[in-house]
């Protein structure tokens, strides 16, 4: 299955794009996807808290993903 990953702030700069399409095994959840994104960032996100939204709804616990889902990874931002 394919999901769309939306990358915000530090995630965007760590990945090099504001969105990407990822192919996942059936049964994958949002935490699996976060692990993939962190691995792809080559350590740039190691010290960054990420919050997750699936189809524009915040999630706290990992949720099973479905084909066509949109998953956003949102870090805190500090600037003002």
């Amino acid at each position: 299955m394919k999901v769309l990953v939306k990358c915000f702030s530090q995630v965007k700069y760590a990945i090099g794009s504001n969105e990407l399409t990822v192919t996942l095994k059936p049964g994958s959840n949002s935490a699996d996807l976060e692990t993939m994104v962190r691995e792809q960032s080559a350590g740039a996100l190691d010290d960054v808290t990420l919050r997750t939204a699936v189809n524009k709804h915040y999630v706290i616990e990992p949720v099973l993903l479905e084909d066509g889902d949109e998953v956003a990874f949102i870090p805190p931002v500090q600037g003002g």
């Binding site: 915000f8 504001n18 010290d47 808290t49 524009k56 931002v77 600037g79």
Partner: protein
């Protein structure tokens, strides 16, 4: 030319001679009668003849009469600013709100919304990139009380994104400089400047009598303090944050809605300051103004707001995402 309700009131009080023509349709005249003025019923096509006396033209909101004077190039003619709406509001307590006629004409605001703004107090914590634009537009909007909290001084590197300050004010306390600029924007505004850094020890005292808190800080620790106090005092907080070309806004702790800690955990990590990550000057102006807009919407009760939602704005693509913070497990 325009004349304000206060000026027209002065003309009446001093016995000055003038003619008032009401160009509104009959139904509007019936539902919204004018008090305290002798008027002639007229239309745009059939205005009263006159010799020397000035002509005051009146419509419901003061817009049609301004256009009429411009189109017909009428001499010695005045449009009543804010029209009957502002004139009648002025009769209540002699408070002239006509300068805000372009926003009181909006049904969502009206005179009652404008009076709510006049009677309200907003506190901005941090008068930097986000705080400057928020303070400017709130002062101009007709807010009655604006408290500014910041312990920093103006620095050269602030000037590209903090338009309340100029190079001659480097080294001066931000709140003092901001006080002078904002007070000149609106005589009906009371600015309260607190040259201090907000923290756990002083936060409750500083924020206790405010209606809305705007979090325009540049560090997560102070944001967390504001979040806790906002929750304790039951005062909504409009959060704003920046990262390079991106910004975040949320209305937090409003009517039982989530707070900052609910979004980013009690101990979030990451997120450089503007000094560390860099920021283009226009971005804080956009995000700070969205914060000011949400604060005004809370006070006037215009819905839907960003309560329980996180707005994410990208200044490169202009894409806006709104995340629903209702938790899905």
């Amino acid at each position: 030319m325009i004349i304000t309700p206060q000026e027209l009131h002065n003309w009446v009080s001093t016995g000055r001679s003038f003619i008032v023509a009401d160009i509104r349709p009959e139904e509007q005249r019936y539902h919204f009668p004018i008090s305290g003025l002798e008027t002639i019923i007229a239309t745009a096509e059939n205005l009263p003849a006159r010799k020397k006396d000035p002509l005051i033209l009146i419509c419901q909101f003061g817009v049609l009469t301004e256009e009429l004077i411009f189109e017909k190039n009428l001499e010695n003619a005045y449009s009543l600013l804010g029209g009957v709406q502002s004139w009648e509001a002025f009769q209540i307590d002699k408070l002239d709100l006509s300068r805000w006629s372009r926003q009181t004409i909006l049904p969502e605001i009206g005179m009652s919304g404008q009076r709510k703004l006049q009677d309200s107090k907003i506190t901005i914590v941090g008068i930097g990139g986000l705080g400057c634009p928020a303070a400017q537009t709130l002062a101009a909007s007709g807010l009655g009380n604006l408290q500014l909290i910041d312990g920093d001084v103006v620095e050269l590197s602030n000037l590209h994104r903090q338009p309340l300050y100029n190079k001659n004010e480097i080294g001066h306390a931000k709140v003092s400089v901001a006080y002078n600029s904002l007070q000149n924007l609106n005589d009906n505004l009371t600015v309260i400047a607190k040259e201090i850094h907000l923290d756990e020890s002083n936060g409750q005292e500083l924020l206790k009598d405010t209606d809305v808190i705007i979090d325009a800080t540049d560090n997560i620790k102070t944001r967390q303090v504001i979040d806790r106090i906002s929750k304790i005092l039951g005062i909504p907080m409009v959060y704003g944050g920046l990262y390079r070309f991106e910004g975040q806004v949320a209305v937090l702790n409003h009517n039982g809605g989530p707070g900052y800690e609910d979004i980013f955990t009690p101990d979030p990590a990451g997120g450089d300051t503007c000094g560390e990550a860099g920021v283009l000057g226009m971005l804080p102006a956009i995000i700070g103004n969205i914060q000011a807009l949400e604060a005004v919407k809370i006070i006037i009760d215009i819905k839907p707001s960003l309560s329980g939602k996180l707005l994410l704005y990208d200044g490169i693509t202009h894409e806006t995402n709104i995340i629903n913070l209702g938790v899905k497990v």
